[in-house]
């Protein structure tokens, strides 16, 4: 598979926190319209990899290339986001003191500069988009309630929704189903597959069950390096993976 | 919450009107405007005491014009902006006949417009930089030629060690700046060369004098140097401690200070200051009967007011503060009225017997005549008088050096400060 087809491409990326190498020389790519799962034991560097993509951490060396030739590692976080990369964090972070609607209003795709927003009010189209998003998430009836009152699962969805309304080309989802009930997981999984139709999605997840029913390709990270890559079955059969990961359940 | 604004507004107005509701018809109200809190309280507090004491004595002797004198005490809390506010209150709401108050030049400058606008009368008891001569102020404190220049003359005399080099150090505000502006010219007029004069200013409450004292040490090394100190308040402690530590003593490099007296010394660690000099019009240790009687009276007052004996000392500004109450009373009696203009007229050339001997208000310029003493600081915070002017010194609000031919005259149809322009008076007020 060629680099040109990839939407995100990590080229020998190394990230270290004084001494400790969270990522070493990682080469990694995701194609357009792909739904990629990223798995690995704790401290394998999964989150760090997402961080490296969305600019939360800067690689010590190596390149992070988005689309054809945009070098993300040279940009600020907000610039990266505006390139069309949406991130959902591991610990759900929404604006608890705002309504769901306001949460999404902030996320809605629109000029981010101060003066652009000084006199900005949502137009009908944007309102509808927000409401429909809430609908897909099944949260429309809570539209004007504080996010603080949502259940953990719903908060996850809200955050996913916030990524949705940004309408990015690449989704970065960090443990989207953590703390969800089985129903919620299935629903989330549907949602992701529906997303993957016209977006690239990169999911970090522990739950193999969920991974199997959602992802079409899986990358296994171990100690900051790509261990192996392929379909869920292929990965599961790989002895090294069994050794480092599944072996431990 | 909307109610609350109204609530506050009303509450405020009520409380204000309450404050203003002071009423007593058959007394003469006088204002006392000294900081009783904040950083200046230490110095200004005692002034309030002697003023009240003087008023007491006056009332005991039957008051003025047969009326009792009623002090209205305001506390501007060492806050320059509050001074203006409080002065306004005294003049407009309490309608006082006169105000005794202010210490720092800053506070005086900020109340000046108020007094001039409402034609009030202010007695100002502290030595100051001069170059001011308001119609509405009587300046009883020393002008520069009544404190600073005599000090310099003393230091340059063989008696004072015939000094040739002078390090002018002060706190950075109007008094030291103006004083040194004039002293510089004065020194030059006495043949002191440019490199024989150093000038430096530190902020209020400055603590770190290491470097400066280092400079002073090498400046004085020749033995012909002296320091003229206009540092204000607490900064003197680290300054003198540093001097003592670096072994700078009074006999090879005397420091002469203009801005602390007995009261401040009581609160400082005097040991490092001992032997250095000060220049004032009055010292508690002056050996004359009037002073002795006054101190006795004040000690009694302290006991009455429960002021601890340690703090019960008198100093120059206190003496002026006490005397200017007496001056005012005498003038009111002479004028037969408390009307400001009449009292001012009565004050011209008014003589009075004071703890420094005879003392009088100048016939023209609203300042006062008094002798100048150089004192040497003792370990007990008192002074040994080492030198005195032969007689009382004429006040010069405008120094001949900075403004040749400028003087001030409020007597008769005098209009205050004027310049002599080809033998004729050109009043500044006419320029405006």
């Amino acid at each position: 598979m060629s680099e040109s087809g990839s939407i995100i491409y990590l080229d020998g990326v190394t990230v270290s926190f004084d001494g400790f190498k969270a990522l070493q020389e990682v080469d990694f790519y995701v194609d357009h319209g792909e739904l990629r799962a990223l798995i690995g034991p704790n401290g394998a560097g999964k989150t760090t990899l997402l961080d490296a993509i969305c600019g939360k951490v800067k690689p010590d060396h190596g390149r992070v290339v988005f689309g054809q030739a945009t070098e993300l590692h040279k940009l600020e976080e907000h610039e990266i986001t505006m390139m069309g990369i949406g991130r959902k964090f591991q610990t759900p972070s929404v604006f608890q003191n705002m309504t769901l609607f306001d949460n999404l209003t902030l996320a809605t795709r629109h000029e981010r500069g101060v003066f652009a927003n000084l006199f900005h009010t949502l137009n009908r189209a944007q309102r509808d988009h927000i409401m429909s998003t809430l609908q897909t998430l099944g949260l429309e009836d809570k539209a004007h309630q504080q996010a603080g009152i949502l259940s953990h699962g719903q908060i996850q969805w809200l955050e996913i929704g916030m990524v949705l309304v940004q309408d990015p080309t690449l989704f970065l989802l960090d443990e989207p189903v953590a703390g969800m009930t089985r129903e919620e997981r299935e629903k989330t999984s549907e949602l992701l597959q529906w997303l993957a139709k016209d977006h690239a999605v990169l999911v970090v997840e522990h739950d193999m069950e969920f991974v199997r029913q959602t992802a079409d390709r899986v990358t296994v990270l171990h100690e900051g390096q790509v261990l192996c890559e392929g379909s869920v079955e292929h990965v599961k059969s790989d002895p090294r993976v069994v050794e480092v990961y599944l072996g431990r359940g | 919450m909307k109610k609350r604004i109204g609530f506050w507004g009303i509450g405020l107005l009520v409380s204000l009107s309450l404050i203003t509701a002071v009423n007593a018809q058959d007394t003469i109200k006088v204002g006392v405007l000294h900081s009783l809190s904040g950083t200046m309280a230490i110095s200004e507090g005692p002034l309030k005491e002697v003023i009240l004491m003087a008023i007491d004595e006056i009332n005991a002797a039957g008051g003025v014009l047969g009326k009792q004198v009623e002090p209205v005490i305001e506390d501007p809390a060492s806050n320059w902006d509050l001074f203006a506010e409080k002065a306004k209150k005294l003049l407009l709401q309490d309608k006082v006949a006169t105000v005794f108050g202010c210490w720092t030049s800053v506070s005086r400058k900020s109340v000046l417009p108020v007094f001039e606008q409402y034609n009030g009368l202010l007695f100002y008891p502290v030595q100051y930089e001069g170059e001011e001569c308001s119609k509405n102020v009587i300046y009883t404190g020393a002008t520069i030629n009544q404190q600073a220049s005599p000090a310099v003359d003393y230091l340059m005399s063989p008696d004072g060690g015939s000094k040739k080099r002078f390090y002018l150090i002060g706190t950075d505000y109007v008094y030291p700046r103006t004083t040194n502006k004039i002293l510089r010219l004065y020194l030059q007029s006495k043949g002191v060369t440019e490199d024989g004069i150093r000038e430096e200013y530190t902020p209020f409450h400055h603590q770190d004098y290491q470097t400066i004292v280092g400079k002073i040490k090498s400046f004085c090394a020749g033995g012909d140097g002296a320091v003229i100190n206009t540092i204000n308040g607490d900064s003197n402690v680290p300054f003198f401690k540093e001097l003592a530590n670096l072994g700078i003593t009074a006999d090879n490099c005397p420091v002469i200070s203009f801005s602390f007296a007995e009261v401040e010394l009581q609160t400082l660690d005097v040991k490092p200051l001992a032997g250095h000099l000060a220049s004032w019009n009055y010292y508690m240790s002056l050996k004359n009967p009037q002073n002795f009687k006054w101190i006795k009276a004040y000690t009694a007052w302290c006991e009455k007011k429960g002021i601890p004996a340690k703090q019960c000392v008198t100093d120059d500004p206190m003496m002026h503060a006490y005397i200017h109450v007496k001056l005012w009373a005498k003038a009111v009696e002479k004028a037969g009225s408390t009307d400001v203009d009449k009292v001012l007229a009565a004050l011209e050339g008014l003589e009075i017997n004071s703890p420094v001997g005879n003392y009088k208000v100048d016939e023209k310029n609203h300042h006062t005549w008094k002798p100048v003493y150089i004192g040497k600081i003792r370990e007990d915070g008192q002074f040994d008088i080492v030198w005195k002017t032969e007689d009382w010194v004429r006040p010069e609000p405008w120094s001949e050096l900075t403004y040749p031919g400028r003087a001030c005259d409020w007597s008769g149809d005098g209009q205050g400060t004027y310049d002599m322009v080809d033998g004729k008076r050109a009043y500044l007020s006419e320029k405006k």
């Binding site: 939360k56 907000h78 986001t81 610990t91 972070s93 604006f95 608890q96 003191n97 705002m98 609607f101 306001d102 902030l106 101060v114 927003n117 000084l118 900005h120 099944g138 949260l139 009836d141 259940s151 719903q154 919620e184 629903k187 | 919450m1 909307k2 609350r4 604004i5 109204g6 507004g9 509450g11 405020l12 107005l13 409380s15 204000l16 009107s17 203003t20 809190s37 904040g38 305001e74 506390d75 809390a77 806050n79 320059w80 902006d81 506010e85 306004k88 407009l92 900020s110 000046l112 417009p113 001011e132 308001s134 950075d172 505000y173 109007v174 700046r177 502006k181 200013y201 902020p203 400060t417």
Partner: protein
């Protein structure tokens, strides 16, 4: 908790006009009438309009701290800058009337200056001075913001830095070499636009102007906090990282808000100096800056009305108390700090709601209504996830 933004957006218009109307009623009609009928003396009116000027300052503080969660310990700098710029104009307006009767201000004479320093010249013109008194502080704020926010210096670090800057500014303004009057500051103003400042009429006009501007500023701030910017401000306060990954250039926003606050402070300063008649460095330093904080904290840091009440209330209290028992004032003020922060996280305007909350869940999660500071530890939302039968 504060009213949610979207409600704000809807209600703000209505609410704003109601409160504004009330303010007009009290400040622009009530008090002037009272003054006209002599219930309120010139002196009191003048005093009160000083408080109103300070209320504008509090509005600025509320924007930056209450809404955006950035604690600036240097707001007094901008207040001072505005005041000094205006003061310079007043100084020049009444030049030649000083003690020395020279063309330059008195303090310059004893600072051995012969003519006006260059940077004084522009402020000879009143319009420039007015504009300057708002623009200069705003620019200063922008500069400080640019140096700090861009490098993501925030939270306590920002507080300490602004404090240090305030301290440095205070030191500098105290120097007479700055030719701004040193410790004495600028004072002894006589005229404004040729009108005598001492004239009751002038003072009345100034009062009306101040009251009007205060109301205008209030409406402006309400509009700002109600707008999308308002949302973003709150977002910065509560969840800055999240907002950053929504693609917002946080620094820009912080700088913007900080400058707006600076401009308000400057305006307040300009009004203050014309009415009090003196501005000294003692109004610039760390202490006054922190006092502004306590006004806002006392009034209610999530409410503009609260900020204004705080400013007027505490300053009124000061005038009264410093007259009665001055030496206790600092202790009272300090006590206020402790009490307000510990017990009234939303100030007095938040008190009713807070009590209500307190009653609501007695097992006093007293954290209710508290705004987590920008650095607050995330309160984990540990609740059993409910069954999402939302379809």
């Amino acid at each position: 908790m504060q009213p949610t933004q979207s409600q704000n957006m809807k209600n703000s218009a209505k609410g704003t006009w109601i409160t504004a109307g009330l303010l007009v009623l009290i400040l622009l009609i009530g008090l002037p009438l009272g003054h006209h009928y002599g219930w309120i003396t010139n002196y009191s009116l003048n005093l009160f309009s000083k408080y109103l000027a300070l209320a504008i300052l509090a509005l600025g503080m509320d924007l930056i701290w209450g809404y955006t969660g950035i604690l600036s310990l240097g707001q007094a700098i901008f207040f001072g800058l505005g005041a000094y710029v205006m003061g310079m104009n007043l100084m020049l307006e009444s030049s030649g009337q000083g003690v020395y009767g020279e063309a330059i201000p008195d303090f310059m004479v004893w600072n051995r200056l012969t003519e006006l320093p260059l940077y004084w010249l522009p402020f000879k013109s009143f319009p420039i001075a007015v504009i300057g008194s708002i623009a200069v502080p705003a620019l200063a704020a922008a500069a400080i913001g640019f140096l700090t926010f861009r490098r993501r210096v925030g939270g306590t670090y920002f507080a300490i830095l602004t404090q240090a800057i305030a301290f440095a500014t205070w030191l500098m303004f105290n120097r007479n070499e700055m030719n701004l009057g040193g410790t004495n500051g600028l004072t002894d103003f006589k005229l404004i636009l040729g009108y005598a400042l001492s004239e009751p009429n002038t003072q009345w006009a100034l009062y009306m102007l101040t009251a009007f501007l205060l109301i205008a500023c209030y409406v402006g701030c309400r509009w700002l906090t109600g707008s999308k910017i308002g949302l973003i401000m709150t977002a910065i306060r509560d969840q800055e990282p999240r907002l950053r990954f929504l693609g917002y250039p946080i620094a820009q926003y912080k700088i913007f808000i900080f400058s707006v606050a600076g401009a308000l402070s400057g305006l307040a300063g300009a009004l203050y100096v014309t009415q009090v008649g003196i501005i000294t460095p003692s109004q610039i330093g760390v202490l006054p800056s922190l006092e502004i904080v306590v006004w806002v904290a006392f009034g209610g840091r999530n409410s503009l009305i609260g900020a204004m009440i705080g400013a007027v209330g505490i300053n009124a209290a000061r005038s009264v108390l410093t007259a009665q028992f001055p030496e206790w004032w600092p202790i009272i003020l300090g006590g206020l700090f402790v009490i307000v922060v510990l017990l009234l996280p939303n100030g007095i305007v938040g008190l009713p709601r807070q009590l209500w909350h307190g009653l609501r869940h007695l097992r006093g999660r007293s954290s209710a209504g508290r705004q987590p500071g920008p650095q607050a530890r995330q309160r984990p939302v540990e609740r059993p996830s409910v069954n999402p039968s939302t379809r």
